[in-house]
């Protein structure tokens, strides 16, 4: 391939960002329907039309989906087998911001991500920037209205509760609440999964602690105060907790998403128990979206239909995540009862989610105050 000087410069700029040039830009052919603009399977003349269009594309690019996260390993395998569509999985351990960056930087290339699975605040920002293609899956009505964009730019997929996990072989007096964790017997034993100014799991632990200590979705300050106290009491270990720190014995108690504890810690540490704290209930869901510049627009839409089918929803459930349509699955008796029974008991009543304004305010406050509150 012959490159003109300008092309070398722009190609080199892309390489600076860790990318390589790829020659082929897939064409979005299709005489009757433009799959990039389809907002439901009906545009393809129903699901069979969508499957046909997707098979013709033959490939789907997904990004930041770790195999041991919410059962994505099996979901990817099953989808590929079922439809004969090859899935390219990029940067499995990346963050939501990495997804947005990939959409922006790979625009127009065949390697660009087709579908996204990200934190809701990132979905909202991406929608404002016009990066997402609106689409309604067949079971759209089963997704609660607070868990989707009214213009169908994004919709929630799966989530879970902030939970306390502990190694029952080391912890003889099981903690059941945030209040319990302040007991002197847990000195140097309580950790969270990362930096709350960076990792949403850790940030959510602070939110849950706020709810347990007189705070609200509009007031996260008591959560910061709680971790300050936990730190002063000497119970808080500021290590980024994970299976390895649990196995080494450094973090026998971890506050983290219930489904990630199930897939990443309980699978490695026999005797790992997970409880949802009695005094602070905080749940969050991730959001799905289709990239407006997806190189495989039909496959992207088929992937969404698959995820929101009974099969897809139950696959997430088998990964100990709570699919967004769980309530309808239970009602219709299509739920995988074994996987459902294995979830830690959910608190009674409906769970409330913060609004975008509340979330942004809470994030700003934690960013400002976390280091001062927990610094030694």
């Amino acid at each position: 391939m012959k490159l003109r000087p300008r092309a070398i410069v722009s190609g080199a700029a892309a390489m600076t960002l860790g990318l390589t040039l790829s020659g082929i830009v897939s064409s979005t052919a299709g005489a009757a329907v433009n799959p990039s603009k389809a907002t439901s399977a009906a545009a393809f003349g129903g699901l069979s039309g969508l499957i046909k269009a997707a098979k013709k594309e033959g490939t789907l690019n997904v990004i930041t989906l770790p195999a041991d996260w919410a059962n994505y390993g099996n979901i990817i395998k099953d989808f590929s087998k079922k439809y004969g569509i090859k899935i390219t999985s990029e940067n499995p351990d990346g963050s939501s911001q990495d997804e947005i960056n990939a959409v922006n930087q790979l625009k127009g290339q065949s390697r660009a991500p087709d579908v996204l699975d990200m934190g809701t605040s990132f979905a909202v920002t991406a929608a404002q920037d016009g990066l997402l293609a609106p689409y309604k899956v067949a079971s759209w009505a089963s997704i609660p209205s607070t868990a989707k964009a009214s213009n169908a730019d994004w919709w929630d997929d799966y989530g879970g509760f902030v939970a306390i996990g502990y190694n029952s072989k080391k912890i003889t007096d099981p903690p059941t609440s945030f209040k319990d964790l302040l007991k002197p017997e847990y000195k140097n034993e309580v950790a969270i999964n990362g930096n709350p100014t960076q990792a949403s799991a850790a940030f959510s632990a602070v939110y849950a602690a706020a709810l347990a200590n007189g705070g609200s979705l509009g007031n996260i300050q008591p959560g910061i105060d709680y971790f300050q106290k936990l730190s002063q009491e000497g119970n808080f270990v500021p290590v980024q907790a994970g299976a390895s720190t649990v196995e080494s014995g450094q973090t026998p108690i971890v506050i983290w998403w219930d489904y990630l504890q199930a897939s990443e810690v309980a699978s490695q540490v026999p005797g790992w128990k997970i409880v949802i704290p009695t005094d602070g209930h905080y749940a969050a869901y991730y959001s799905q979206a289709i990239s407006a510049t997806a190189p495989h627009p039909a496959a992207a839409r088929l992937w969404e239909e698959y995820l929101y089918s009974v099969t897809g929803q139950n696959l997430w459930l088998q990964g100990a995540a709570r699919p967004i349509e769980l309530a309808s699955l239970v009602k219709d008796k299509t739920v995988d009862t074994k996987a459902y029974a294995a979830l830690p008991a959910a608190p009674k009543g409906t769970v409330k989610f913060p609004t975008q304004t509340q979330l942004t305010a809470a994030q700003t406050l934690v960013t400002q105050k976390w280091a001062a509150a927990t610094g030694g």
């Binding site: 100014t197 960076q198 500021p238 290590v239 980024q240 080494s248 994030q363 280091a371 610094g375 030694g376």
Partner: protein, 297 residues
């Protein structure tokens, strides 16, 4: 630079000219590499620091980055970089000198190979190595406990400024040994013999001969350590989860996180701040360097 020498009266032959062109071509990959991987990203950081998310020019990123927790972050980062460059720097010189003056080549080779390995060890694996040894349930901590010493009862914690400094020393000391050894080897025994012949005592030799000769190299080594401490990221992040305000971790929250959306340019402003810090240190370094190496010429 070319290896051929050209005498002034003779015109350069084609052969000589060709070899200097080839030499310049040899530099080209490095030049391209530097522009692509240092120049372009640095420019993007500096430009981004002054842009709003929509692309207009603004001071607000710089203003956010220079106040409150971010200003505090710069102070802590510079403190950490100073502590973990000067102390391991001195330790590295002493160790390298001790090894050089010992008899036998085997130890020297072992130390330099080991330094090469340790100096490049970092990130989350390094953090985990220390958790497994000096964490509250670490092996070394348990040994100390059986001896009746519990470091955690005496104000020590691995997950603090002092802990992070200790972990940084793990790669900083070997790095210093690597860079200072050639300078130490350059100290000629005859200088010492001459000094002693004129009645100098050991400290006088170091004060008036060895010290001044070594000082420029020592300064260069400390500068390298300062830079590596300033930019270290993953180890501190894994050990402290952001409970120490460090600029590199704060940049990570903006550029790479799952929590803060749409504020990457504040992260770039923080990156710009680090560039300024390094620039100031470099200017100070070159002034000191010039002054301290003047008499050598």
């Amino acid at each position: 630079m070319t290896t051929t020498t050209v005498s002034p009266e003779q015109p350069r032959t084609w052969k000589q000219r060709r070899s200097s062109i080839i030499a310049a071509l040899g530099l080209l990959p490095f030049g391209v590499y530097t522009i692509l991987f240092l120049g372009v990203p640095a420019l993007a950081v500096v430009v981004g620091a002054f842009q709003s998310p929509t692309g207009g020019w603004t001071w607000s990123n710089i203003s956010i980055a220079s106040h409150g927790v971010y200003a505090h972050g710069f102070v802590t980062t510079i403190e950490l970089a100073l502590v973990t460059s000067i102390v391991p720097g001195l330790a590295g010189v002493v160790i390298a000198y001790a090894v050089l003056t010992m008899k036998g080549n085997a130890l020297r080779r072992i130390v330099s190979t080991a330094s090469g390995v340790f100096a490049n060890f970092g990130g989350v694996p390094l953090a985990f190595l220390f958790i497994a040894t000096l964490g509250t349930t670490g092996i070394v901590t348990s040994w100390l406990n059986t001896l009746g010493i519990d470091p955690y009862q005496h104000g020590f914690t691995l997950f603090s400024f002092i802990g992070v400094s200790l972990v940084y020393a793990y790669f900083q000391i070997p790095l210093m040994i690597l860079v200072i050894t050639p300078a130490l080897e350059g100290l000629r025994p005859s200088w010492r013999e001459a000094a002693e012949g004129m009645g100098a005592r050991s400290w006088e030799y170091w004060r008036f001969v060895g010290g001044p000769v070594l000082f420029p190299s020592f300064l260069g080594g400390v500068l390298l350590l300062f830079g590596s401490a300033l930019s270290a990221y993953a180890t501190a992040e894994a050990l402290t989860s952001g409970s120490i305000a460090l600029t590199s971790i704060q940049i990570g929250s903006f550029l790479n996180g799952n929590v803060l959306a749409g504020q990457q340019n504040v992260g770039k402003a923080l990156g710009f701040g680090l560039i300024v810090v390094i620039a100031v240190v470099m200017v100070g370094y070159s002034i000191l360097q010039r002054r301290s190496s003047k008499w050598l010429h």
